[in-house]
Structures are given as structure tokens and as C-alpha cells.
């Protein structure tokens, strides 16, 4: 359900009509999350992270600080890492999102997940989904990083437990193990999901 468009048309100097676009107090958005399409009604103030967690039930994405400082809520939106607590769901209309739930293929971990497992890259695990999603974006940008580059690459993600050493090591190991091709997760078969 969307509000009636504000009934304005602006006449420019050349007296060409400029359409004034619709203003929404609620909007039906369509997003692809981890290869699956979802259609939902949202209010503009719904944050992307709450949309993922509460509307779609994808609770892998965490809320740490809720003030765009900790990176726990990091997801990939149209190829770019974003802090989903600092963006509105309505802005994701028509876009593709990848969350931590979309990385593994069935029972097979993504190489980054495997490397975090093998190298003890987590303790409580709260920061881990955000760390891994940020590392995922970072390794696509920078497939063969130095240790220092990795540290700058995850500068927006805070961890209260590990002291970072094993996180950095895990990302290093993952980068060595995998070529860029493998970084691309094949999108799962797209499936329409009924509005709920």
C-alpha cells in the first residue's frame, strides 16, 4: 500500500513537465537475499538489519552497537559491504543482499568460514558474521593482502574477545587457499516467496 503521490508537477524553463516522484509512508519492496527473492511491505524507518532479522528471520546478522561503529551488522549489498544498522530496508528495494547465511553451500563451509574454524578465529562468536562478511568483501577487492592490509580491511569491525590475531590469521589463510573465482558464491536458485 503506498500513499498517493504528492500531486505536483514542476514546469521547467523549457516548460517540460518534470514528474515529481511518489512519496511513501509504506512501500512494497522486493529484495533478493542469499539468492532468494522476498517481497515485503515496509515502513521507511525500518532498518535493514531489523528487516533481515525480524521480517526475514535471518538472525545471523548481529546488532552490536546499533550506532555504526562495530561492524557486527555488516552485509553485502549489491557487492558492497555495508553496516545494515545504518541503512533503511526501503533503500534495498530491487537490490541483492548476501548475509552470513548465504555463504555455505549446504553442509560445506565457505573457505572463510572454514579458515575461521580451523584457526580459532572466534571465541564468543558475536562479531563473527560481520567479520566474515567484511572479509568476504575485502578479499574480493584485495585477493592477496598483506597482514597489515587485512588489519586495515577489518578496521570497522570490533571484537571484544580474540585480540584479532587469529581473525587476521584466518583471513590470511583463506586468502592463500582460495582463488578469486572461488570467492564468488554461486547464487542459489531463485525462488519466489509469497508475501507474508
Amino acid at each position: 500500500m503506498s500513499k498517493k503521490p504528492m500531486s505536483v508537477r514542476k514546469t521547467s524553463r523549457r516548460s517540460k513537465k518534470i514528474w515529481v516522484p511518489e512519496v511513501f509512508s509504506q512501500k512494497t519492496i522486493r529484495v533478493i537475499v542469499n539468492g532468494k527473492e522476498y517481497v515485503r511491505d515496509v515502513k521507511p524507518r525500518l532498518l535493514l538489519v531489523d528487516f533481515l532479522r525480524d521480517s526475514l528471520g535471518l538472525t545471523g546478522t548481529h546488532v552490536g552497537c546499533d550506532t555504526s561503529n562495530c561492524g557486527a551488522c555488516t552485509v553485502i549489498l549489491n557487492g558492497r559491504s555495508v553496516k545494515s544498522c545504518s541503512m533503511f530496508a526501503i533503500q534495498a528495494d530491487g537490490k541483492e543482499i548476501l548475509t552470513i547465511e548465504g555463504l555455505a553451500k549446504g553442509n560445506q563451509f565457505h573457505p572463510l568460514q572454514q579458515a575461521f574454524w580451523d584457526n580459532h578465529g572466534l571465541q564468543c562468536g558475536f562479531c563473527t558474521p560481520g567479520m566474515i562478511m567484511q572479509a568476504y568483501w575485502f578479499l574480493k577487492e584485495n585477493p592477496h593482502p598483506s597482514e597489515e592490509q587485512i588489519r586495515w580491511g577489518i578496521a570497522g569491525n570490533l571484537c571484544r574477545c580474540t585480540g584479532y590475531s587469529n581473525i587476521v590469521k584466518a583471513i590470511q589463510v583463506a586468502s592463500e587457499k582460495i582463488g578469486v573465482e572461488q570467492m564468488q558464491v554461486e547464487p542459489r536458485k531463485q525462488r519466489m516467496v509469497r508475501r507474508s
Binding site: V8, K10, V20, K27, P44, R45, S68, Q91
Partner: protein, 296 residues
């Protein structure tokens, strides 16, 4: 944390956007990267009635060279400026500045235009536009106007861009004669990704024999109510020999002209004054070397 309710529009052209802004009046806010505005709305320090998302206006995001200027669309992300080869080659000051902003996620989404309009005196871009003497292109439903970097910042969190206007382009003069021009940005931060305790941007052009400073632009971050121009420091350089003594004098001049304030997080005014001197000297030395000077 939720902002107050608001209504949302996402125009796909500049014409639509300014027409909407005119209609909505001062209750509307432009949403670019959201890296300042969304946290402000969540804290309810800003509660706009309408949010005008300009991310769908694809022709506001570009970096291109046309003649005497490198033109940067207001919606260009910090990250694109950091990675652009054109910017690296011709505007080292801008690639360095971009790389110091926040963290990777902030740079992926935050825009140069949003940062400038936000007019935080701790914002890094302000110093880059001041040092490079950039021009700012601003559009309303009625007209387009151009403001220079010395008249862009009106006060803390207040720029020259009115509520019915959109900043569309940052026009940076291409520094003369590549080899003898160079820029640098130096920033002191408490921890990775923090706002500047102090920041200094410089853009230099040396004489052909690399012996004197021909032109100097200095922008200062977190050293006053807005980003400032280091006027006295610039004066201490232009026409003078490229030497450690000259750089020292510019350092003294800058520490006298800045207007920092005490703050509990990032240090006393006195400390910032001292750091302004140190960081200006570092930036000048590095830029002068990049421009081919010897003996500094």
C-alpha cells in the same frame, strides 16, 4: 534504535529531486550515504519529515577530467576516490584524504558531497577542498550556482547549501604541471577509523627549479569551528625557499592561527595546537618531496 517516522522518496533525476525539495520545504532532508544522517536520526538529533534518497540519481556519481578541472559527482563514494587511478595520479591529496576516512564500510557508502554538506569541522574532505581551492556546484529548482571553498562552510554543521538545494559537483583545479605539484593529507587519530584529533591537507606547487614554493594551499581539520584555511602558514611558504626553515616557519604560523577547543576525548586545545604544527610540517615535507624537492 528507531528514528521518528518519516516519508520517503527516491527520485531518479536531479530535476525530480530539486522539484521535490521545493515542494517538501525545510522538513525534508537529502539522504546520500547515510553515514552521518542515519545515526543522527536514530539518536533523534535529526527528525526530518521527508527523506529524499538521492542514491538513485546515477549521474551524480562520477570522477572525470575536463580541461582545467577534475570534476567529482557529489554522490561519489569515499572508496571510489580512494581507488581511482586518475585521482591517484593527479590529485594525491584526494586519494590520501579518502583513505583516512572512517573504516571500509563507511568509505563504501559515505559520499564526498554528504560529508561536505554535513560540515563537521572534524570532517576530512573539508580540508582537501580548501587546500586544493575547489569549487562547489549547487542546484535548486530555480538555479545553479557555484561557491568557492572559502565560502562553503558557514559554521559548525552548517554549509552554504540551503535546504532546497543539492550539492551536485566538486570541481578541483588540476594542479599545474604534474611533476612539480603534489599534495598530502596527514591525520592524527586516537584509534583506527576515528575522526581527526587534528588533520592537515596540503597542496603545493614548486617553482620549475624546485627551489621555491610557488603555490600553497593548506586545509585544517578539527582545529576550529569549521575546516579552516591555514592563511598565515600559506603566506609563510609562497615565494620562499623550499627548506626546513621555511617549513618550520609555516609550522609556527599554523600553531598561532588555529582555533582548537579542549575536548575530553581527543585532548586539550594546547595539545592540538602543538600537533597542528607537527602534522603540517610532516605534510609539507612529504608533499615537497613528492614534487621533486631535495633538501627537505
Amino acid at each position: 534504535m528507531y528514528p521518528k517516522e518519516f516519508e520517503y522518496a527516491s527520485p531518479t533525476s536531479l530535476g525530480e529531486a530539486v522539484a521535490l525539495l521545493k515542494k517538501m520545504g525545510p522538513d525534508a532532508k537529502v539522504l546520500a550515504g547515510g553515514q552521518s544522517l542515519v545515526p543522527l536520526m536514530k539518536f533523534r538529533l535529526a527528525s526530518p519529515k521527508y527523506l529524499l534518497d538521492i542514491n538513485g540519481i546515477s549521474n551524480l556519481e562520477y570522477i572525470k577530467e575536463n580541461g582545467k578541472f577534475i570534476s567529482v559527482g557529489a554522490l561519489t563514494r569515499h572508496h571510489s576516490l580512494e581507488r581511482s587511478e586518475l585521482v591517484k595520479q593527479k590529485l594525491g591529496l584526494f586519494s590520501e584524504t579518502a583513505s583516512w576516512i572512517g573504516d571500509p564500510q563507511v568509505r563504501n557508502n559515505g559520499t564526498i558531497g554528504g560529508s561536505l554538506v554535513h560540515s563537521d569541522p572534524a570532517g576530512d574532505w573539508g580540508s582537501a577542498i580548501i587546500a586544493s581551492r575547489a569549487l562547489l556546484k549547487i542546484q535548486s529548482a530555480r538555479r545553479e550556482r557555484i561557491v568557492d571553498s572559502d565560502h562553503f562552510f558557514k559554521d559548525t554543521f552548517t554549509s552554504a547549501v540551503a535546504p532546497n538545494e543539492i550539492l551536485t559537483e566538486i570541481r578541483v583545479p588540476v594542479p599545474p604541471d604534474g611533476g612539480r605539484s603534489a599534495g598530502a593529507y596527514e591525520k592524527l587519530e586516537r584509534k583506527a577509523g576515528d575522526f581527526a584529533t587534528v588533520g592537515v591537507g596540503v597542496q603545493l606547487t614548486l617553482s620549475r627549479n624546485r627551489k621555491t614554493f610557488e603555490q600553497a594551499g593548506i586545509g585544517l581539520t578539527s582545529l576550529g569551528p569549521t575546516n579552516l584555511r591555514g592563511k598565515k602558514a600559506e603566506k609563510a611558504l609562497v615565494g620562499k625557499n623550499v627548506s626546513l626553515e621555511t617549513i618550520e616557519e609555516a609550522g609556527t604560523a599554523v600553531s598561532e592561527e588555529v582555533k582548537p577547543t579542549d575536548d575530553v576525548l581527543r585532548g586539550s586545545a594546547e595539545y592540538k595546537r602543538a600537533m597542528a604544527r607537527v602534522f603540517l610540517k610532516r605534510a609539507l615535507t612529504r608533499a615537497a618531496r613528492k614534487a621533486g624537492a631535495s633538501g627537505v
